[in-house]
Amino acid sequence: MFDVRPQHNEYLRHRSAQFRQQVERRLNGSLTEAEFKPLRLMNGVYLQLHAYMLRVAIPYGTISPDQMRVLALLAQKWDKGYGHWTTRQNIQFNWPKLVDIPDMLDALADVGMHAIQTSGNTIRNVTTDAYAGAAADEVADPRPYAELLRQWSTDHAEFQFLPRKFKIAISGAEKDRAVISAHDIGLRLLRNAQGELGFQVWIGGGLGRTPLIGQVVRDFLPEADLLPYVEAIIAAYNLAGRRDNKYKARIKITVAERGLDVMREEIEAEFVNRRAVFTGVDQELLAELRNLYAAPAFRNEEDGDYEAKRAANAAFRSFTDTNLSAHKAPGYVSVKVSFKAPGQTPGDASAEQMNLLADLAERFGHHDLRVSHDQNVVLPHIHKSDLFALYEELRAAGLATANAGLISDIVACPGMDYCALATARSIPIAEEIAAHFRARDLESDIGKIDIRISGCINACGHHHLGHIGILGLDRAGVENYQITLGGDGYDIPAVGQKPGAGFPAEEVVGAIDRIINAYLELREDEEERFIDAYRRLGMAPFKAALYPANA
């Protein structure tokens, strides 16, 4: 167990010192690469196409200004001046030298951050809604539970060598903003008929080469039973999960092959045993964590000149129309800071941008920042009277792109520009699509749409869940892109379906353009989003638009 606060952490320093010795032993020949590889992966160190990559966890996306400044320091001092927000609320540094990584881990440990279990067949970073503790529709703040799960799962002796990696997501609201249906375990906070707080528990969701939407294994789990129940799920999976084939080793396959009812029986039986040995320490810790994540002292004051500024400044009005979310406190909003500016690699953040956001969170945002799984940053608590001043600061730094949820807000994995597993590039495709629709000046007309791109079947870009998904493949030595339609990770979870053959890189923009033109023609009105039109009309009209020669 370790302290969650953003301060020097001796436990993490100890882990870093351990890794420093392991690096030294690798360099002096005492450890072979085969011996060293699992050790470096346990510390988030991958070897990618051009360099090592360090993946640092941003637990449930929550990060303090001081921690953000350390990420900026890592980017500046040991990398090439930037980092990359991932779809699982981590940050990846693309260019560290192996010999520098222990120093980077020391710097992280000094603000309570780490890269533990950001790789390997372990329980990974627990993710949640970037608007946790702020959203108007929230049942309860998911962060105390996410932190409880992190403390329990970090270095959990029983779960260091699972059949495969294991991902947990928690939604604090009925409206899922954490993609719980595509996780190994998904948890949705809710109240039962008696008004008691608990979780709806999903298992067996996942993307990759066999995309499956999870299933509800428990309709209502009392909140006090969270750890023993999650432990029972993972213990059952640890025994039943396949270890003979890594492509069939995730819990989604275990559930699909054995059936939900069999898994439920084993989980419930195991739960009885596990529940009996929990002494209540977890609930004491949970109570402390609730205090730690208590709401800040919100100001109770008028909106100032917010509406006047909106009326007078079209760009500000556009920003507030697209990038704000409803807040539970009167006078407050949550602000999405887009890292999808024109020409920008989706999710890449420079050290200067990170430092600025840290300053702005201190000046305007109750010292709170979130990294969202759509590769943007959220300032969760901004009073409307501060919004214009905040906007002006963001605008001056190129961070006021008014495109949250629009067609240029594309989710993309690093693809073959960085990743050793990739089969094609993602970044240039994302940039070209965004540039094309900006040039056509159609973004606001098209409205809300979710495009997601992965550079290989492992689906880090969550392409299966995109309203329009794009998967980059290697077809006989040429990059080729498979399009899927109708995916959704939020309202009505669904895996996108293939309309037909893929396209070479130079034809992808034209293909997306034809789909969008069809949508603009077919939609009932401007309120009907692309995904709504797709659900109403089905694949056929979009397929006909995509392959006109076959129509």
Binding site: R26, L27, G29, T32, E33, L47, Q48, L49, H50, A51, Y52, K80, N94, W95, P96, K97, L98, V99, T345, D348, M416, D417, Y418, A420, R425, I427, P428, E431, D474, G477, V478, E479
Partner: protein, 109 residues
């Protein structure tokens, strides 16, 4: 990592890996390693390539995961990649001009 490749005179190969300490791409020439892909030794004979691979694997204190990558002989006689993955490894990422290879190319064009 690419699939194992067996070179022939018609389909030659180079040996490439990542530098252990720094992580950047390197290519083998005369049993040593260079960051310049154009300096890579071209293997056209399976037996010679196998011996060179044994040598490469024995240098685990310098490089990680060496492998044979298909190449062709360019007009200047130097090796060129046949697959886009190897082309990207030479050139660096396409979104920024700052990979080690890009720096190398910038100073040698």
């Amino acid at each position: 990592m690419s699939k194992p490749f067996t070179p022939t005179p018609a389909r030659p190969a180079v040996i490439t890996a990542n530098d252990l300490r720094m992580g950047h791409c390197v290519w083998m020439r005369d049993g040593a390693w260079t960051a310049d892909p154009r300096e890579a030794e071209i293997f056209e004979d399976e037996a010679i390539a196998d011996l060179a691979m044994l040598d490469a694997l024995s240098q685990a204190n310098l490089v990680v995961d060496p492998y044979l990558a298909e190449a062709r002989r360019g007009e200047d006689g130097r090796p060129e990649p046949t697959h886009f993955r190897e082309a990207f490894r030479r050139r660096g990422p396409s979104n920024y001009f700052h990979g080690k290879q890009a720096e190398f190319e910038a100073s040698n064009v």
